[in-house]
């Protein structure tokens, strides 16, 4: 039998936590993800399944915050669903059972690194990192843009001084470096 030790996206045994001034950047390994792409001709049936699961269908630039499953809009007829990893490690299989032939579901958990950025000054951090107008984003808004040539999602959570950042896991170190550098610049 193999005896494998799980590590986080940044390679540690424990999630990385950086506290700078009033801001905290926390690596979050506890998120299961799966993408939902409505199949042609089944768009409305797919949305009905999504509405039944999380209460609403998020439109462009929006997320539907809900427990345990939640989802945000990633493109026309495309959404990303998330849930706690501890209870939904098989999120893609769970969604496939629900959505059936109405959508293509793809496992995404290990494709992304998740950072939670909290505290006073996070807007100034994002302004140094990307072209998104972070100050106009309210709780529930979800946008994709670019940090240091890396496409990433930024979600405004509740309370609003909490941003969730999803970036490509293979570039977790580069993204972490960029965010921490901006945090130090703001502090």
């Amino acid at each position: 039998m193999h005896s494998l030790t799980p590590i986080t996206a940044l390679g540690g045994a424990q999630p990385r936590i950086d506290t700078i001034a009033e801001m905290t950047l926390t690596e979050n390994p506890g998120l299961a993800l799966a993408s939902i792409a409505a199949r042609r001709g089944h768009e409305e049936a797919c949305k009905d399944h999504l509405r039944a699961l999380i209460g609403d269908v998020p439109g462009p630039g929006r997320s539907q915050l809900h427990d345990p499953e939640a989802a945000f809009w990633t493109g026309p007829d495309n959404w990303m669903a998330g849930a706690p990893f501890d209870t939904h490690e098989d999120l893609a299989a769970q969604l496939k059972a629900r959505f059936g032939e109405t959508a293509s579901i793809t496992e995404q958990t290990d494709a992304w690194v998740c950072f939670d950025l909290r505290g006073d000054g996070i807007e100034a951090v994002m302004e140094r990192l990307c072209a998104i107008d972070i100050r106009t984003m309210v709780t529930g808004d979800a946008q994709r843009t670019v940090i240091h040539h890396l496409g990433f999602f930024v979600l405004r959570r509740d309370p609003a001084d909490w941003l969730r950042i999803l970036g490509p896991r293979a570039s977790a170190g580069s993204l972490h470096h960029a965010i921490v550098t901006a945090m130090k610049a703001v502090a």
Binding site: P60, G61, W73, P76, A131, Q143, R144
Partner: protein, 95 residues
Amino acid sequence: MIIDHPLLGPRDSSEFVYLGDARMLDRPDPDAPDAARAFYEYGYLRDNPAGPHRELWFHEGGDRSWLVVTRDTVTHEITRVEMARDVARAKGRST
């Protein structure tokens, strides 16, 4: 330069990748008798207007949708932005 995305609103052009003439959407019928000629023109012949130009942009750093942007090549003024899939579907494609 700012591109007013039909779904997401004004977005910085740094998020986009430029492809070229929007006639790329009009792929010829490969079974037509003059297919060789049509594909030669489709692959190689482009107008190069000084003025309004319909062109394809990809929102690579965003929602990854293709857009048809009408841009004045002289002034860079953008007068219209459409979802490429809506343009294609209006022509009876992928419906």
